[in-house]
């Protein structure tokens, strides 16, 4: 970890610690509405991440949108290995929490700042749900 690593605390947390590259946008998330789950990309044309792969990335987004299908779909995506590494949101609905619980996908939610503005797209981050922390390790290519 570099000496200038920044740490953000979340109010809500679930799962185990992971480290990876962040895929960031100030937009919503629904596995049914927004994703091509076979190709592993955001498919809704109006989504800010349209066309980008979410596989193995730590998704940093604003809030949960849409319906209840995500509660099953994270589990299904995990079984095929076409799943985000972790989820980090400004706020989530029960569906994302239920889906993360069934799919064993680490998740943080609820920050004092807009986490989508704080974390640069492509940054290397580590999340630690036990300590409720997200650590910005490297600003990434957009620094």
């Amino acid at each position: 970890m570099s000496s200038d690593a920044r740490v953000y605390r979340s109010r809500q947390a679930m799962g185990r610690s992971v480290r990876g590259l962040a895929l960031v946008a100030h937009d919503g998330f629904s596995a049914r509405y927004d994703l091509d789950r076979i190709a592993g990309i955001f498919s809704r044309p109006a989504h800010k991440l349209a066309g980008q792969s979410y596989v193995g990335r730590i998704l940093v987004l604003d809030t949960a949108k849409g319906g209840v299908a995500t509660a099953w779909m994270l589990h299904e995506m995990k079984a095929r290995g076409v799943v985000p590494l972790a989820l980090v949101f400004n706020s989530v609905n029960p569906i994302l929490a239920q889906g993360a619980a069934l799919g064993d996908v680490p998740m943080l939610a609820g920050f004092d700042e807009d986490i989508t503005a704080a974390i640069p797209n492509g940054a290397e981050v580590e999340i630690d749900p036990v300590r409720h922390t997200l650590t910005l390790l490297d600003q990434g290519p957009l620094r």
């Binding site: 809500q12 947390a13 679930m14 919503g28 049914r32 509405y33 927004d34 994703l35 091509d36 498919s43 809704r44 044309p45 109006a46 989504h47 809030t63 949960a64 949108k65 849409g66 319906g67 209840v68 299908a69 995500t70 509660a71 099953w72 779909m73 589990h75 299904e76 995990k78 079984a79 095929r80 706020s91 989530v92 609905n93 029960p94 569906i95 929490a97 239920q98 889906g99 619980a101 069934l102």
Partner: protein
Amino acid sequence: MRLNEEEQMILAGKSGPVPQQALKHQMLVGDFFGAEDFVAVTQAHIMADTESLGEAGVRWLEGLAATAEGQRRVRIPTITDPRGTDFSKAEFLGQTAAMIDLERRAIAAFVKLGVVMTDTCINYQTIQAPTRNEHVAFGDTGVVIYSNSVCGARSNFEGGPSALAAGLTGRTPRYGFHLPEQRRATLRLRVDFTPRSLNEWGALGGVIGRIAGNYWAVPVIEGIEAPPGSDQFKHFGAAMASFGSIALFHLVGHTPEAGKLTNVAPAGLISRRIARADIDALQQSYRKDDRVDVVVFSAPQLSLFELRELAGLCAGRRFAVPLLAVTSPQVKPDCDRMGYTASIEDAGGTVLSGMCFYQSYAREIAEAKGWKRLATNSAKLVNILGGYGYQPMLASMEGCVDAAVSGRLA
């Protein structure tokens, strides 16, 4: 979470591994949201189409269903949202044998768990509407928002795994909209017109959903003069839930908790105005083409009254493009009996039952049938189908039927 004696017994496995696993899942979610304890629920409603479940989800269900008889059945009436197909129309929809096989396996597992296969997202119109202050565990966002707002019941969005868990344990974590303080309005909206058609009610719900923006927002709406009917509330709420992930709204003078504004809104809540131009703009934003490949009435499933109206519009017409009308297994026999099915199908349409269009492998249907430009009167459906590769367009029921005849949306 604080557990009572019965919950401690379940957690210790005294009721068997299935309720034990269900309670552990519920505790993970409850802890995440800071729930202090559980609340008993009287009904559960499970969204579990196989496009969402996939092979992994069906195997997970089959694992639960393989548990010994006496240790695996739900404790309270537990019903299902639409399936991923109408078995009698699967070939017409271009669905594959693998999809149908997965559906049959999921159904077999649910039956072993004691789940009642109602296959409907309009259970509040067809099975049993919840009553005011009744705590329930409902899936399908349209069901939840209608039950909370119009019936005054208490539910969070319960995804399939959590709704099934609630059925198996007879309870759910007490957080969110089970708590009175969470049901207070957080934003105030004034509408200076009353929608005239179901697509306009849906569009208004969509506009409000976008403004409200997240699950924890509770809009209170003023300015609707006449009380909406059940189908109007249905489209209004389903679209609001779809566009905004909203689970509860109050309509001053018309919903049970909002006899007057001050019953639900804190003093000083700033009001924002919504004009007819706002819903016109939402509808126009989906008009990219005037040609139509398919017309779909679905999401939510149609009531008998909607089918009656549709049948009247179809009488004596001849469709140039396919028209699909989707309803529940409870409504379909009456639709047949009243002659509505014949009227729609004589014009070249198809009435489907027990499924919902977007929950039925919509992407694969589009590829199999060559459907892309889709007209519907459901704002919820246009919001969903963009991600499935469709170009959805929102219009009135009359406009959609005309489009089925001419192939063009006026």
